[in-house]
Structures are given as C-alpha cells and as structure tokens.
C-alpha cells in the first residue's frame, strides 16, 4: 500500500500529472504502462461506463482499456472461473440469448465477462472457462482487471459480491446491456430462460 505523500511530493505530482489527467491517483511518478491512450473525457457521455479508466486483460492475453470497447453495444456481466453454481448458468443463458437473436443482430453483439478473481483468473484460466462453457468466437470477451477496478466495475453495474474464506465468491448475477456509448439500457437477473425484455432491448439498441 502506498504511503501518504508529503506536501512536496503532492505538489510535484500535481505538476507532473496536471489537473485533468490522472483519476484519483496522486502517487510519485510510475513507469509508463503499455496501453492505449484514453480518449478525451469530454467525448464520453457522463453516464457512460467508459468513464471508468480500467485496463482489461483478455483470455488471449491482449490488453486494452475498457473504453476501447466503445462503439458497439455490449452485454456485460461478472463471474469467476472456479464458480460452481451460477456462473456456468450465466454463461449458458448468455449463449442462449445470443442464439435467440436474428443473424444480423448477433453479428453486431459482443459479450464481456469480467472476473471477480484477478488473483487466480489468469488468461489461461479464462480460456479454460470459455472452453468448458462453449463460449467460442470473437464475440466472447473474458477478461480480468485489477482488484480495485473490479470493485468499481461492480459498483457501476450494481453487482454485489464478497469473497468468502474458502476462496469462493458470493455474488449477484446480473446481465447488463450497454448501448454503443456505454450507457446502461437494461439489466436482467433472469437465468436459464432468455429474458424477452432483454431480447427486445437488444433489438432496440442495434437499430
């Protein structure tokens, strides 16, 4: 954990990072991380999930900021690979939902599943889950991000979770539909069956 900076360091950091750039971090300068530059804040709508400056590592090892997904509607949920109960069910529901879409719509939809468990869910583990649950094709994005960012993403999506002593997670199961700009259009907790309201909302958002 970082130590509280002295006043001097704070002023220095202020000078270095400027006032509009870094979000919340006021630490001594760190080596630059290889990632794409974030689009200017003004362009992203205030309510858009892409305001979150988090970094994703996908199952194929690619790294990208969350905001790189902007431009296409997205189904988002959160899970973890060692989950026995609900997560496989969620994956199944998402597959059925995608299958229920007309061909043209399905081609334009993507699904992002972010792990609660970055410590254990490496890209390899993510690949394993995708295999096991038949989540094949470019539409399926399984990702991990930093622990701090997991909490923030869950907060934005209204998902509650906590880690239990055995390493399992207790969490709510919510599927969220985002429009191309990252605004939440609808959410559903319906599992196993496809939610007709969700299917309709997907149609609306692709129009």
């Amino acid at each position: 954990m970082k130590h509280a900076p002295s006043n001097r360091a704070a002023l220095l950091a202020l000078a270095l990072f400027g006032v509009t750039g870094a979000y919340g971090v006021d630490a001594p300068p760190a080596p630059p991380v290889a990632h794409e530059v974030m689009p200017p804040a003004a362009a992203i709508p205030g309510e858009s999930i892409y305001q979150l400056p988090l970094q994703l590592t996908l199952q194929d090892g690619r790294q990208m900021p969350l905001a790189a997904l902007r431009g296409q509607p997205l189904l988002v949920t959160m899970f973890y690979t060692t989950c026995q109960g609900v997560c496989p069910l969620m994956a199944f529901t998402l597959r059925r939902t995608m299958a229920a879409l007309p061909e043209a719509e399905r081609a334009r939809m993507r699904v992002l599943m972010v792990s609660f468990d970055p410590a254990r869910d490496s890209p390899e583990a993510l690949r394993g889950f995708a295999e096991l649950n038949s989540l094949k094709g470019p539409a399926w994005l399984l990702a991990r991000t930093e622990e701090n960012d997991v909490r923030e993403l869950a907060a934005v999506l209204g998902i509650r979770y906590r880690q239990l002593p055995g390493g399992m997670f207790s969490h709510s199961a919510i599927i969220t539909l985002l429009d191309a700009d990252g605004l939440i259009r609808t959410q559903t907790g319906t599992l196993q069956e496809t939610d007709p309201a969700l299917i309709k909302a997907i149609g609306d958002v692709l129009r």
Partner: protein, 254 residues
C-alpha cells in the same frame, strides 16, 4: 494570487489533518455479518483509521487539486445530482458551512478518489465495524445496553439543521471519534453487504440470486444498532449522495 494562498492554506490544513490517524491493532471479533456459514469470528489485520471524518475543508482542497471532482465537472457515472449540492459553488463552501464540519453529499467514487489521492483507501466494513464496536473505555461495548441506546438515540433524532464539527464527541477506546452520532460513512466494500433489500428475508435461501453461500443474514439481531448501518449502506448505489453520508480514510498498518 488569492486563489494560490487559499490552496496553500488548505493544503497545509490537509497535511495536518492527514497525519491524524489512530493505529488499531488487529484481532478477531464476531461480526454482525458472518463471513460464511456458521458464525466464525472475523480476523481484522492491524490498520490505521482517521481519527475523525473528512471535513469540508479537506474535501475542498481535494476538489481544487483535482477539478475532475468538482460538482460542475464530475461525470454523472460517479456522482448523482446531489453531489456537493450544499456548497455555495463548485469551489467555495459559502458562509453557511463550516470548514470543520464533516463533508457530506459525496458519492463512493468521490470518497474513494479522495482517499486514493492521499495514498490511502476507504476502510472495509469489518474494519469500520471493529473500530465502531468500542466505547470510550472498552474495545467491545456491543453488549452494553446503555451504549446501544445512545446509538439508537442518534437514529431517533431527525437531521439537525446544522451538522456539528468533527471531533466534538469524545474519542473511543482506539482514539477515534464520530463513528457514531454524527454521519453515516462509506466503506470500501459497501456493495459486499449482500443483505436482501427486504430485511425480513432470513437464512439466505435464495442461492441462485447470490451464487455461493446465499445472502448474508445478520448473525445477531440484538446488534440492531449496527444492523441499521448495514441497512443504510445496502440502500446505496456507488454514485449516490445523501445529506447525512460522509466518510473517513484508512490504510494498512506497516
């Protein structure tokens, strides 16, 4: 020039306040929210906690340093329409508010950003509960009906027209004050309090809704003073602000 002087003054004030931490030794305790099935005690590692909540002055300094968090510039994803609505302007408290009052009408994102700007973090629920279990003289006063009644008395009063300044009530056993009787406070894992929003649901039968162990049901209904904190926090979303909700920061002990 005046602006710079103000920033300097406020920063100095911030620095002074930032060093006011209480060191709290860790331990095991029985939480109102069990970690899993059975009522195993929770282990809290040693940590440091702000002696009192973050004040208007401290938060103003932060907002001036990071204008992204000004109420006229903050992204609506991170704060609702009530964010800092009581300040006279985006950069000025105004004459009606005092610098040493606890800052309220701040969202979880804003509170988190403030603590991170100091290299710290929000306390976890267990840390907050652990520190808040203390009275002035004993580390765990939760069995004392008089202590419980004092806390309930705060819930029984309506919001005061003017919030008192921080640090006015006596510090507890750990040297921390205002954990009760002043404001509600954000915790880092407020969205880990998996209580159902219908507070009468018991035993977490809804396994599908909450994968794993099911919704937590408060272990000891006698600790209703603490239950009410959980009830309040579980009504919030991360971007919410309310007139009685503020925060303080914590950090791991070294």
């Amino acid at each position: 020039m005046r602006h710079l002087l103000l920033i300097a003054a406020v920063l100095c004030g911030t620095a002074a306040a930032a060093s006011e931490h209480a060191a709290i030794g860790g331990g095991q305790f029985s939480s109102v929210l069990p970690q899993g099935p059975g009522n195993e005690p929770v282990t809290v590692a040693p940590f440091k906690l702000d002696r009192h909540p973050v004040t208007n002055a401290e938060f103003l300094a932060f907002v001036l340093k990071q204008p992204r968090w000004r109420r006229d510039r903050v992204a609506t994803l991170f704060a609702d329409a009530g964010y800092l609505a009581h300040w006279r302007s985006a950069t000025d408290l105004g004459g009606d508010l005092r610098p040493q009052q606890p800052v309220t009408r701040v969202s979880w994102f804003a509170a988190k950003a403030y603590c991170e700007s100091r290299g710290e973090r929000l306390p976890t629920w267990y840390e907050w509960e652990y520190a808040a279990a203390a009275s002035e003289t004993v580390p765990d006063a939760r069995g004392d009906p008089a202590w419980r009644q004092r806390i309930l008395d705060w819930y029984a009063q309506p919001s005061p027209p003017v919030l008192p300044d921080v640090g006015r009530s006596p510090a507890n056993y750990y040297g921390v004050s205002d954990l009760h009787g002043l404001i509600w406070e954000w915790v880092l894992d407020f969205n880990a309090l998996l209580v159902s929003s219908d507070s009468r649901e018991q035993g977490g039968a809804d396994r599908l809704r909450f994968c794993g162990e099911g919704a937590l049901s408060a272990a000891d209904r006698e600790h209703y003073a603490v239950l009410m904190r959980i009830a309040f926090l579980s009504s919030l979303e991360a971007r919410y602000t309310t007139a009685n909700l503020g925060f303080r920061c914590a950090q791991d002990a070294r």
